[in-house]
């Protein structure tokens, strides 16, 4: 029996139906909808719609933490979950290294960003639309925002990773921490990922869930898709006409059973199974046949060793859109072979809370198991013959052993979770003392649990867990595709490195931005015209095109025909997502007073628009993940793919990252004094940046095809190790060098890579002195650890500073171990006594994020 089975020990929730688990349960029990009028912001077009707005004073509840509304929602839910779990906060000692935060987020700080952009546009209405020349002269630089830089503050919390980092800081977690943004399934994916990390022995305890606030972008976006029901959603009803948008957050504390028991925690439920799939059919609409949804549910059952008849209740995705509900009913009938268990959508209680919805359902599922009761499908009146199923009409007591929860997102990103009942424990065991071991009976005394069918599943589960990460199977990189400022081929990158880097270019700017003052590392024309047929390209945003071109370059012959689409997964990292499309939508929305919203732009604005386009292009139906965790987005994506390959759920994986330059990002950086027309080019370790100055921004995409090492012939390189987490920061935000060196050594050795074999440390240094110094100190500490100088290299002089730069670094690492790039080229300008000509066989790609994260990838010849 595997003791790494994930169990739930804490729940926290904040929704339109109230703050806290008991408020949520009261609403479900009473059948009380949380939908009501929109008062959070004015919306000329949708202001009369019913929404699931959180009515509590979020700022007050959050206390003194700073962040966006989404960040605060996440933190309020996280705090409740941590308190219930009995974990010490902040964590200390070894526990912190084994604790992580996994969060689903898609709206993130957009509500605040809209306010900043709105001010920019309002303050210059004429020029913004009709007269861009007004901004072209030197007389205008001191515009209002420069004089009032604090008005840009919301942009600091724009990113999806903001809430994750906030929760991780508060909890003191230092284990694997990442953010996922697969639209409406993001919260469920974060929970599934936490379970995977625990099973894989990377974590003992995870805070996992999702959070999203309401925003004008999502309200107008769903409006543009004609998917809003003004009077409130009616899931599965014959007259259903769309969703009600909501906001909220839900968090779970998920632990390995062994550690939960050892600390005497009260186990609320088990996370029995989870599954993820992709429709690979349409950017926003579900596959009408429900193939992807079926696959996700079946995977979750299989993983839990369950048969369909074990499921006592289904919390359906049930958004209330005509398409989703028909599709989901079809998928349910297929999975359950006609015998569909009682089911309900809870969307009319909370609204559709996007990234939070999967986590909210997870909390409801756990609570249903504990209370042995399940909610009604509020909003349902009349059956739809096309659906042919009737959801639960009443809140009622039900004997529940396993509850299934579905989440389906834009891009056909589907996730299903199964939660199982845990026996009520004796009261004496119910309140464990953190950090002290306690004897806890493995089973309750009522006998039901032991005679229940899932008992046999322990054997199956154990067998599945025995397949977990084995260092014996390295992964093979079998293809690499690139779009970068320094060229799109290995030869191009080599000559850019040989030239000492790339000169940043002046970027085209448009109103409301000053012309001719934006400079960065742009990919320019990256060959989209040749690579993507015009009929397809016209619907894609620039970032999607970059990712798609990189993916096509990684698979010049396309996918091998023999592969089953279900066994190919994709994971793309993106720190900021499709900024161009998002900005176009928001600008149009604000300038036109919400008239004529742009549906296509909204569809392209979601962070997972790149990964889902890859799925559509190559017909990839396995896990489809998008990670959005600043500088380590790529590594989190790579980890997802590595896990699917190692555990035998995929035969091929596409892992990559993509980020694009945006005038908005540049404008913000300018206002903070980071960049200006005179900013120097990036020279790692060059010490040219002083004061508030930051390295110039860049953009790029890189995608890699991976397979299991034992299934690939003639690979480009082997991927021996990939890890990410949070570092112990010293004052100033940089990591403690000795601890970093120890983390790197320990991580490598767990994967069978001796530290002595590392020939080159390829660092994310970008010429920003405090962080360059941090890299150098870590290299020195590593040198001490292994009693031999570690050579230090860098790559951002070619690709610029951006969140997907480490994917470019990975491309360089492949060139280094493949012999196409001489190590001296990466060492240019870096004083390093051991900068010899020896061609490296093992390259350690090491990335630090000022957000507090670190990551490593180890690539071998």
């Amino acid at each position: 029996m595997s003791s790494r089975r994930p169990v739930v020990t804490g729940l926290g929730i904040l929704t339109a139906a109230g703050c806290g688990v008991s408020a949520m349960w009261d609403a479900l029990r009473a059948g009380r909808s949380g939908l009501g009028p929109l008062t959070l912001f004015a919306s000329p077009r949708y202001g009369r719609h019913q929404v699931g707005q959180v009515r509590e004073d979020v700022d007050q509840l959050a206390g003194d933490v700073r962040g966006s509304r989404s960040d605060k929602l996440a933190w309020i839910a996280a705090r409740e979950a941590i308190q219930q779990s009995g974990l010490a906060m902040p964590l200390n000692g070894h526990g912190a290294d084994r604790a992580g935060v996994l969060l689903g987020s898609t709206v993130a700080g957009m509500l605040g960003t809209e306010e900043v952009v709105g001010r920019m546009l309002r303050e210059n209405p004429q020029s913004a639309i009709r007269n861009p020349q007004l901004f072209g002269t030197e007389e205008v630089p001191g515009d209002l925002l420069r004089r009032q830089p604090r008005r840009f503050t919301p942009l600091r919390y724009h990113e999806c990773a903001s809430a994750t980092d906030l929760c991780a800081r508060q909890l003191g977690a230092r284990g694997p921490t990442a953010t996922f943004s697969t639209a409406c399934s993001a919260g469920a994916l974060a929970i599934a990922t936490a379970a995977g990390l625990i099973e894989d022995d990377e974590l003992d305890v995870a805070l996992a869930g999702g959070a999203d606030s309401l925003s004008r972008l999502t309200l107008n976006g769903f409006g543009a898709l004609l998917l809003l029901d003004p009077d409130g959603c009616r899931p599965f009803d014959a007259a259903r006409a769309g969703i009600s948008l909501g906001e909220g957050a839900a968090m779970l504390v998920i632990e390995a059973e062994e550690t939960a028991r050892a600390r005497g925690a009260r186990i609320l439920a088990r996370l029995t199974g989870w599954g993820a799939s992709c429709d690979a059919s349409h950017p926003t609409a579900p596959d009408p046949q429900g193939g992807g949804a079926t696959a996700a549910m079946q995977q979750a059952l299989e993983r839990g060793g369950l048969s369909p008849s074990d499921i006592g209740f289904v919390l359906a995705h049930g958004t209330g859109t005509p398409d989703n509900d028909v599709m989901e009913a079809r998928a349910l009938r297929r999975v359950f072979d006609g015998a569909v268990p009682p089911f309900a959508s809870v969307k009319r209680f909370f609204g559709h809370t996007l990234a939070a919805s999967g986590a909210i359902q997870a909390v409801a599922a756990v609570q249903a198991l504990r209370e042995q009761a399940a909610p009604a499908n509020l909003g349902f009146e009349n059956s739809d013959p096309e659906i042919g199923l009737r959801p639960a009409r009443e809140f009622q007591s039900r004997p529940l052993q396993q509850v299934l929860s579905n989440s389906f997102g834009f891009g056909g990103n589907n996730v299903a979770l199964v939660f199982g009942r845990e026996d009520p424990l004796p009261a004496s065991a119910a309140c464990g003392v953190p950090g002290r071991s306690q004897e806890v009976p493995l089973h309750g005394s009522d006998g039901i649990y032991r005679t229940y069918r899932t008992y046999r599943t322990y054997g199956t589960y154990g067998a599945a867990a025995a397949r977990r990460r084995s260092p014996g199977i390295p992964l093979a990189v079998i293809g690499a595709g690139l779009v970068s400022a320094g060229g799109h081929t290995m030869a191009g990158v080599r000559s850019a490195l040989a030239a000492g880097g790339v000169a940043p270019s002046w970027l085209e700017s448009a109103a409301p931005f000053p012309l001719g003052r934006l400079r960065g590392y742009s990919c320019g024309d990256f060959g989209a015209d040749e690579a993507i047929p015009a009929a397809r390209r016209r619907r894609l945003g620039r970032l999607q095109q970059m990712a798609l071109v990189a993916a096509k370059r990684s698979l010049p012959q396309g996918l091998p025909a023999a592969l089953s689409p279900e066994r190919v997964c994709a994971a793309i990292g993106t720190g900021l997502g499709c900024l161009g499309e998002t900005a176009a939508f928001v600008e149009n929305m604000l300038m036109n007073g919400e008239r004529a919203p742009l549906a296509g732009r909204f569809a392209n604005s979601v962070h997972n628009a790149c990964a889902s386009q890859l799925a559509i292009e190559f017909n990839l139906r396995g896990l489809n993940s998008t990670s959005t965790h600043r500088e380590i987005s790529f590594e989190a994506a790579l980890w997802h793919c590595a896990g699917e390959l190692r555990q035998g759920r995929a035969d091929l994986a596409l892992a990559g990252a993509a980020d694009e330059l945006s005038p908005y990002m540049q404008a913000a950086g300018e206002r903070w004094g980071w960049w200006d027309g005179n900013a120097p080019a990036i020279r790692p370790f060059g010490r040219e940046l002083t004061g508030r100055r930051r390295p110039l921004p860049g953009e790029g995409a890189a995608v890699f095809a991976l397979a299991r090492g034992d299934q690939a012939s003639a690979p480009l390189a082997r991927l021996q190790s990939v890890h990410f987490g949070r570092f112990a920061a010293r004052p100033g935000g940089q990591p403690e060098a000795q601890q970093e060196a120890a983390w790197l050594r320990e991580s490598l050795e767990r994967d069978g890579v001796p530290l002595a074999s590392v020939d080159l440390l390829l660092a994310g240094a970008s010429g920003w002195p405090p962080w360059d110094d941090a890299y150098r100190e870590v290299a020195s500490a590593l040198s001490v650890l292994r009693s031999e100088e570690v050579r230090l290299g860098a790559y951002k002089q070619v690709c610029g500073e951006h969140y997907s730069a480490s994917a470019f670094g990975f491309f360089v690492a492949l060139g280094l171990v493949g012999g196409q790039i001489e190590p001296a080229l990466c060492l240019a300008g870096i004083p390093s006594p051991a900068a010899g000509a020896r061609s490296p066989r093992t390259v350690l790609l090491y990335t630090l994020s000022p957000g507090g994260s670190h990551a490593l990838c180890c690539v071998c010849a």
């Binding site: 543009a224 898709l225 004609l226 349409h282 950017p283 926003t284 609409a285 015009a534 009929a535 016209r538 619907r539 036109n592 008239r595 004529a596 919203p597 742009l598 549906a599 296509g600 569809a603």
Partner: protein, 84 residues
Amino acid sequence: MQSLNDELKGKIIKALNLDKITPAGIKDDEPLFGAGLGLDSLDALDLVSMLERDYGILIQDMEVARQAFATYRTLEEFVQRNRV
């Protein structure tokens, strides 16, 4: 009449980013969706948006759009009838 034809076709091309297609390439009586131009449901929504922005026509029911967008000719007639 001819001028609306050119104007509307130009707006369709711009709204849907059909940069490889000329106004003459949109045949009056061929279906707009499905084969032909290769348009999909998101294009339909972007046409809805264009009609609102440029002709003040607000469509909130896709069934109305489905009928109006059957062919270019039905779309033109729809605009004639409903523009403000």
